[in-house]
């Protein structure tokens, strides 16, 4: 079980919390056991931290490829400033192995509430400056506007959700139906023309939204350390899903004789590749890496 959980966190880096949370929740559903409230909130905090770090990394990649290295440097500097606070608590810069079946396991669990509060304050100032820089940097918006426009029918045909679909006007977010987010999440209204520029600005919006959410979680987490409960493993099946940085991540598990017998994982990588293939038709070859980056096409995720 531990090995399965570790492996789920390494399907694709930058989305480890999403994969491990969904895996753990699927196991807990199979067991018919939930986790304590603090552990559930801890998972939400980790999911949102991961989203912020992932989006900043993606924005840096986009800016670099769009010949805006100054903007990329700012994205990475903000990300590193946040990681300075996150890494000592989680024990991993990529937030790997923080979610375990039955709860969460952190290097230092007590300061999690304080870190959420601090990240919200640090990040909101940084995000506003970044947004201003993104919109004013010479040529950046022009480079991305009209690039890699996704069509609603392509997105619907392959079932791609997440920020790519939200930037094309679709209202789809797994957080809406997850009880973990009750009273915390509100819908992010993004740009809706479906181009790389819309996707970039939506990611910036989502960074702000996640930071607001972290600020709301902080007082509820307080100084209490989220823990972990022992699970009794019956012969059963379970499934669960969460909203990862690029969309829905779902796991189905089958337990047999106290062991993990089978696992099925769904992530948006394959659908993103199919949309990419449609989107790049007629685009200049030199734009392909930029379009791929803005759609979240990942060889690692496809491998997984």
């Amino acid at each position: 079980m531990e090995e399965g959980c570790r492996l789920s966190g390494r399907v694709v880096a930058g989305q480890s919390v999403a994969h491990q949370s969904a895996f753990c929740m699927a196991v807990e559903n199979a067991c018919g056991q939930g986790v304590e409230e603090q552990a559930g909130l801890g998972r939400v905090a980790l999911l949102e931290m991961e989203r912020v770090l992932h989006h900043l990394y993606t924005l840096a990649d986009l800016a670099e490829r769009a010949q805006a290295p100054l903007v990329a440097a700012h994205c990475m500097m903000l990300r590193e400033a946040m990681l300075e606070q996150i890494a000592p608590v989680t024990g991993s810069r990529l937030l790997m192995d923080c979610c375990r079946p039955g709860g969460v396991r952190l290097a230092e669990a007590e300061p999690l509430g304080g870190v959420c509060d601090s990240l919200a304050k640090l990040g909101q100032a940084g995000q506003e400056a970044l947004l201003e820089l993104w919109e004013s940097f010479p040529g950046l918006s022009a480079r991305l506007t009209g690039l890699g426009v996704t069509r609603a029918e392509d997105l619907a045909r392959v079932g791609l959700e997440g920020p790519v679909a939200r930037a094309a006007g679709q209202d789809c977010d797994t957080r809406r139906v997850l009880g973990l987010y009750d009273g915390l999440w509100r819908y992010t209204a993004g740009r809706q023309s479906g181009s790389a520029a819309d996707r970039a600005l939506l990611l910036l919006d989502e960074v702000a939204e996640s930071l607001t959410l972290l600020g709301r979680i902080a007082p509820r987490l307080g100084d209490a350390a989220p823990g972990r409960e022992a699970l009794t493993l019956p012969d059963a099946e379970g499934m669960a899903m969460v909203e990862g940085p690029w969309g829905r991540v779902a796991y189905w598990v089958q337990l047999h004789q106290g062991r993990l017998a089978q696992v099925f994982c769904h992530n948006p990588a394959a659908a993103a590749l199919l949309v990419f293939e449609e989107t790049v038709k007629g685009q200049p070859v030199e734009d392909m890496p930029l379009v791929a980056s803005s759609l979240g096409v990942s060889a690692a995720a496809l491998d997984g």
Binding site: R10, V11, V12, A13, S16, A60, A73, E132, D303
Partner: protein, 161 residues
């Protein structure tokens, strides 16, 4: 005004993490190749190549082609699909050259081991000039490891695979 502030804050940023090498001429060029896995080592390498780290200041650069590289930096378990790509990259590099393995997967296959899709790591296959263990190693660990290379010459390595 925002743009000027942004330029200044990068140009005069505090807490630079550069480590200046002693007595080394041009930068050692690294060609990074990801042979499989989760991509975490690639993300950490990307972080190292960005602010506030200073890979260039430490005497290293990232080459865009193997022909311009001094060292082959491998991350991820060696998948069967990527083995010929790794071989081709190695053969395209000029002499003298060396191999750096970044992360547990590149060393011994890590979590992925040896199976129908992956050949494991490079540990028992080639002579490795620098081992950077971890899952993944942090940018600071990688930088410290790279700087340690500058104290001695890169040993002659045997071709991979």
């Amino acid at each position: 005004m925002g743009l000027i502030r942004a330029v200044l804050s990068v140009a005069f940023r505090q807490n630079m993490m550069a480590t200046k090498p002693a007595g080394h001429g041009g930068p050692l060029m690294l060609f990074h190749i990801e042979t499989g896995g989760c991509g975490g080592c690639g993300m950490e390498l990307r972080a190292l190549a960005s602010a506030p780290y200073d890979l260039g200041g430490a005497g290293f650069g990232l080459a865009s082609t193997p022909a311009g590289a001094d060292l082959l930096l491998v991350s991820g378990p060696l998948t069967r699909m990527m083995a010929p790509v790794l071989q081709a990259a190695w053969e395209a590099m000029p002499e003298p050259k060396g191999i750096i393995c970044m992360g547990d997967c590149a060393l011994d296959g890590g979590m992925f081991g040896e199976n129908y899709a992956t050949l494991g790591g490079l540990e028992r296959r080639v002579t490795i000039d620098l081992r950077l263990p971890g899952c993944p190693p942090t940018p600071a660990d990688v930088l410290a490891g790279l700087v340690s290379l500058l104290g001695s010459s890169v040993a002659e390595a045997t071709p991979p695979v």
